[in-house]
Amino acid sequence: MITKKLIDKIEGEACVYFDIKDRVVDFATIAFPNFRGIQEILKGKNALDALVITPRVCGICGHAHLMATVRAIEDAYKNGGYEIVLNQKIQKIREFTLIMETIQNHLKWIYLTIMPELAQLNKSTKILTPLKSAFGSSIAARAIATFAGQWPHSSYMLPGGITCDPTNIDALKAKSYVDELTSFFEKESLGIGIEEFLAFESCKDFKNMDSDISFIEEELIKAGMNKKGFSHDRFIVLGNHSYTNPSKINQTRIYCADAMCVEDIDSYSPNEKTYAKNAVYSGSYYEAGSLARQMSLNVPIVKNMHRRYKDSAYSRVMARIFELAYLLKESNSILDDIDISEASFNAPQHINAITATGIGVVEAPRGPLVHKVSLEKGVIKEYKIITPTQFNIGSSTKSDPTPAQKSMIGVSKEDALFIFRTFDVCSVCTTH
Amino acid sequence: MARVTKQERKDGIISVALKLFSEKGFYITTIPDIAEKVGMSVGNFYNYFTSKDILAKELVVYISEYIGAKIKKINESDIATEKKIYEIVSMYFDMADEKPEMIEYFLRVYLSNREVFKEGCEGMICVSAFVTELMIFFDEGVESGDLYDQDFFSAFGLFMGYLGGMVFLFGEKILPDSLSSYKESIAQNIYNALKAR
């Protein structure tokens, strides 16, 4: 019998249709309601307007959309014969604000999604503090606003640079926000120093903590999540950043990858109309996100985790938490490298001169975000957005399941609902 | 006899000064020349204008406001942009006919003796009333879809340069016909050059 479950307390809503046999999930399909038609809205608009429109795809990762758009338009400039070269300052500031967005996303997911759901699954009596994450996230948002004016929905990146012209006052302020956020994370979440945490090389090291994070780790084990939620053990990273290594990973073997191999295909959702398509890489489903990124970087503890627990729900969650700490450190070193005297913007050719196509690829919090744009004299002819959740949480047939579908097969419905959330579902992105 | 107000006196000076400056030239005309023609003492003249340079600048403002007020009336009338162009051309040529000293002063003194106006009359300061009205004219013309959206000075130069050139030719007595006989064709040419493409 097929049972429907509406899932909220994620970014937007999703409907999962479970086919339960012998008390375990035999198969599940997924539908995303509430289409917004952003690709259509973009058609006929001035290309630069996309920098204002696409961040509104998503309230939690709009900055990643902004970056994907600016990269897509800059690629169109290049393909149209006017290559844009960005200096270090521009690249680093863009990178910094993007990282901060990922950090706030991960924090909210840990406290608003993972902890409550895990506590509920294990019937834990721990007193939860979900709003802690809003406070931590607001510090990250301040760091973004220092350069980007505001978060969410900043539009401070433009082809050729960024709109802000920061002084050292701003750079130092951003650094103090990172310090504050790091202390917050150490004190409220880790219970130990971030350097100590980042030096962990084995999952056993998590036992040395007594904190929210060690609670999550213990509860994951208690729920058997180290033995559940396995996907295809294939990973994809496509966005090029200082903290990523674009690659396709089969188990532990790392190959190079190219976003040109990504396409979106119709999904299989027999019970309800879905507005999401599935994203495939060279025709196959790959898992995207923090675990993929950390695997691509050969981070020791994540390799250890993968050796022990493969691509289980445990690995997915713990790799993400580890990435949060990793990115905090990375953001600090990015700030140290910013040379304030470099130009913020080098005016490119007028957008009206550009008739070309371009692709922009970014690692959003949940994985590769791909924007493809086709311009005619600076006006958008076609715009295509492929989001990370389309990689992870597509809905396909039983013979060729998507990562999320595969991860839910063979477990109880309750476990499946938790495992589903370990992918950090972004329905709003997916139903762009 | 009704008492002459200070403003009327001032207007009188302006009128005489315009004539003398445009007939005799700016440098040759002296304050005693103007005072004599107005019928006042040189001492009294200084109660109205403290120097010849200040008078020169006030004259530009006077002309600019005079033309500006006329164009404003045209701008505010409920007629098509094409007709407005005709009305502006017509107003300008009539002025050149009836008050040639105003246009003469503008062309021969203001535009030819920039050193006199370099302080206090830079850029748009003294001609603001007139230029503002032309800006309004162009802005409304573009917004209504009648005129082509282009750089302001490209359009301004075409319009005013053309009119100024015709008045100059007229003043030099080169034009075979009266100025007013050119109104129609010139208005048409300006419209053709500026209209929406």
Partner: protein, 301 residues
């Protein structure tokens, strides 16, 4: 024995067609936890709530404060129930209905998803029409894409303290929306002396002439109550896109619409003639301090 908790006003946060941006923006409020503790949250899409989505869409409770985020789409369903039904049900008994963000206020970004039918709660752009127009006296629009956390915080605190909340003709609280987003912009002196910003990425110059800045035409207190308590669009050189107004989103957002180099839209209430007179004169002056860089790092090295 009644605990204090029983007397907390009840609150439902419900969503139409949205990006969740208002939810996430509100999460940035500095004193969020203390403020939320003053309410009983019956439902919020991201926060722990006392009721679940099934109970909420069954329309069996009432609430004191109903917050709606997102564009209203008459065909949209949540949990198989028409949003229109849910909206009308809760609006009937709520004391306050808050439209959180421009989508809920005027239709906003996602009006374009289905322009012929989508709208805000009591406004369709600037036209006074919408699904709960009969409850319009209870509706407070807090426009902004996204909503400014402190604007919503202020409104909830006003509601809690039972203070009279005056609104403008678009139902926005006047204490938040009587300002223009131009007020408090760090570039004001450049506006006064008509010094344009040559390019993006500069501290200097005003963005009104070329870069499309709508701040003088936009009711919002963004430069008075800063974003994330830190900054604002114009302070970081991004033009104001007018996201609090009923006509958001406009087009060609990074360039100023001009007619023969003359800005088409004037600061609110300023006659074009007066503006052009002043601008023409101001542009005449060459003020070295305003034309140069504020800081030349290359030189000071």
């Amino acid at each position: 024995m009644h605990s204090k908790q029983d007397k907390k006003p009840t609150l439902i946060w419900f969503q139409g067609l949205t990006c969740n941006g208002n939810t996430h923006s509100f999460f940035n409020l500095h004193n969020l936890e203390n403020l939320l503790n003053k309410f009983e949250i019956l439902y919020h899409p991201s926060l722990e709530s006392t009721k679940n989505i099934d109970e909420i869409t069954a329309c069996i409770f009432t609430c004191d404060i109903f917050i709606f985020e997102g564009t209203y789409d008459p065909l949209m369903k949540r949990n198989d129930v028409l949003v229109s039904e849910i909206l009308n049900y809760y609006a009937k008994d709520a004391n306050y209905i808050i439209a959180a963000g421009t989508c809920a206020s005027f239709g906003g970004m996602f009006k374009a998803s289905a322009p012929e039918r989508n709208s805000g709660l009591i406004f369709n752009e600037a036209d006074h029409e919408g699904p709960i127009i009969k409850y319009k006296h209870k509706v407070i629009n807090i426009s902004g894409c996204p909503i400014h956390p402190e604007w919503l915080g202020y409104t909830l605190n006003m509601v809690l303290s039972k203070k009279e909340l005056e609104v403008d003709k678009l139902h926005r609280p006047i204490e938040l929306f009587s300002n223009l987003s131009h007020h408090g912009c760090t570039r004001n002196e450049y506006f006064e002396w008509k010094v344009d910003s040559d390019n993006f990425g500069e501290k200097e110059g005003c963005l009104y002439y070329k870069q499309g800045c709508r701040a003088p035409m936009t009711h919002a207190s963004c430069n008075k109550i800063l974003w994330n308590e830190v900054s604002s669009k114009t302070r970081v050189g991004t033009p104001c896109f007018g996201c609090t107004e009923a006509d958001f989103p406009r087009q060609s957002l990074y360039s100023t619409k001009t007619n023969m180099s003359i800005p088409q839209d004037m600061p609110i209430g300023v006659p074009k003639r007066s503006y052009l007179t002043l601008a023409g004169i101001a542009k005449t002056f060459s003020i070295k301090r305003l034309e140069g860089k504020l800081i030349d790092y290359k030189k000071t090295h």
